[in-house]
């Protein structure tokens, strides 16, 4: 059987061993994400919602993180806010 080899470099090591506590499921992320992005948009500059489980989940789940970014863009546009600022705010938190 032919083996396939992948380099285990520092970036991959970090992703394999990522600390994703406190636990939050994908279902709960989906349930809470609309409220989370609105709190993120409405928080004063330099502040952000206290949501460690959501942040841990978004660090560990690329699919949920990508969908959250799109939701943030849409909600920002609805408020007439600069989407780039909104996304930067999300990334600096996760």
């Amino acid at each position: 059987m032919n083996r396939r080899y992948r380099p285990l470099a520092p970036g991959l090591v970090a992703r394999l061993t990522l600390d994703t506590d406190p636990w939050l499921s994908c279902d709960d992320c989906f349930r809470l994400v609309d409220q989370y992005v609105e709190e993120l948009l409405e928080a004063p500059a330099g502040a952000a919602p206290d949501a460690p489980a959501m942040l841990a989940h978004l660090r560990g789940c690329p699919a949920c993180a990508d969908e959250t970014t799109t939701l943030l863009l849409l909600a920002a546009e609805d408020r007439g806010l600069d989407p780039g600022v909104a996304v930067a705010r999300l990334r600096e938190r996760s």
Binding site: P10, C26, V37, G60, T70, L74, A75, A76
Partner: protein, 217 residues
């Protein structure tokens, strides 16, 4: 933040005042609400598909629109089915968008992966310190410890899920489809696998190395 546009374009005041009621009570207002909801779903789905077009490999706008329309239609059904669960913790529009975003993202990922095999059983990880790492020896030692832990500490199921999701970067919903599992269950397996690896590396004294290298590209 800087204001760059108007809020909630095109939503009639009567519908926006109470989306749930407008969508629930038969009559002309319901018809308008349905039409507006579909517009919202389409906008959200299109936005998600457009963000993912690099994964689709240079498809045209016709394909983007085809996926977005199908996703919007499916998402609209999901929103209507879940209408009773809307609690008003966010704007209705933000709550509704998330169904279209999820549906579109899932549809794109399925499309991208439909011809691709997932095979982690022949996968072998080779410790690599990183070409530009200043602490090459330590990085190789840590990578060796992680590889050993993956092969000895994790269950076969945890190992396969971890390798598929993190090393092969198979999207979690695609893998769930292939395995007849749920996104939730696979993410829980991934979470537990990472936790077990960290616990083992803490016991072997490698966790400090791990912390110092966190975020290394």
């Amino acid at each position: 933040m800087t204001a760059v546009g108007s809020a909630c374009m095109g939503t009639s005041a009567a519908v926006a005042e109470d989306w749930v009621r407008a969508l629930s009570v038969p009559g002309p207002l319901q018809d308008e609400a349905m039409s507006l909801l579909h517009d919202l779903m389409l906008r959200a789905a299109r936005r998600q598909v457009l963000r993912m077009t690099p994964m689709l490999g240079g498809v045209g706008l016709d394909v983007v629109d085809e996926i977005a329309h199908q996703s919007a239609n499916d998402a609209m059904m999901a929103v209507l089915a879940k209408l009773g669960s809307f609690e008003g913790r966010s704007r209705f529009t933000t709550w509704a968008y998330k169904f279209a975003v999820l549906q579109a993202a899932t549809d794109v990922r399925r499309r991208v992966w439909r011809e691709r095999a997932v095979d982690v059983d022949r996968l072998e990880l080779v410790p690599d310190g990183g070409a530009t790492s200043e602490q090459y020896a330590e990085a190789v030692d840590l990578a060796s410890a992680v590889r050993h832990a993956i092969n000895t500490v994790l269950s076969q199921h945890q190992r396969r899920i971890l390798l598929a999701l993190v090393v092969e970067e198979v999207p979690v919903d695609v893998l769930a489809d292939r395995l007849g599992a749920t996104r939730n269950a696979l993410y829980k397996t991934l979470h537990d696998a990472r936790k077990r690896l960290r616990a083992h590396l803490r016991e072997t004294g490698h966790l400090a190395d791990l912390t110092s290298q966190a975020g290394t590209p």
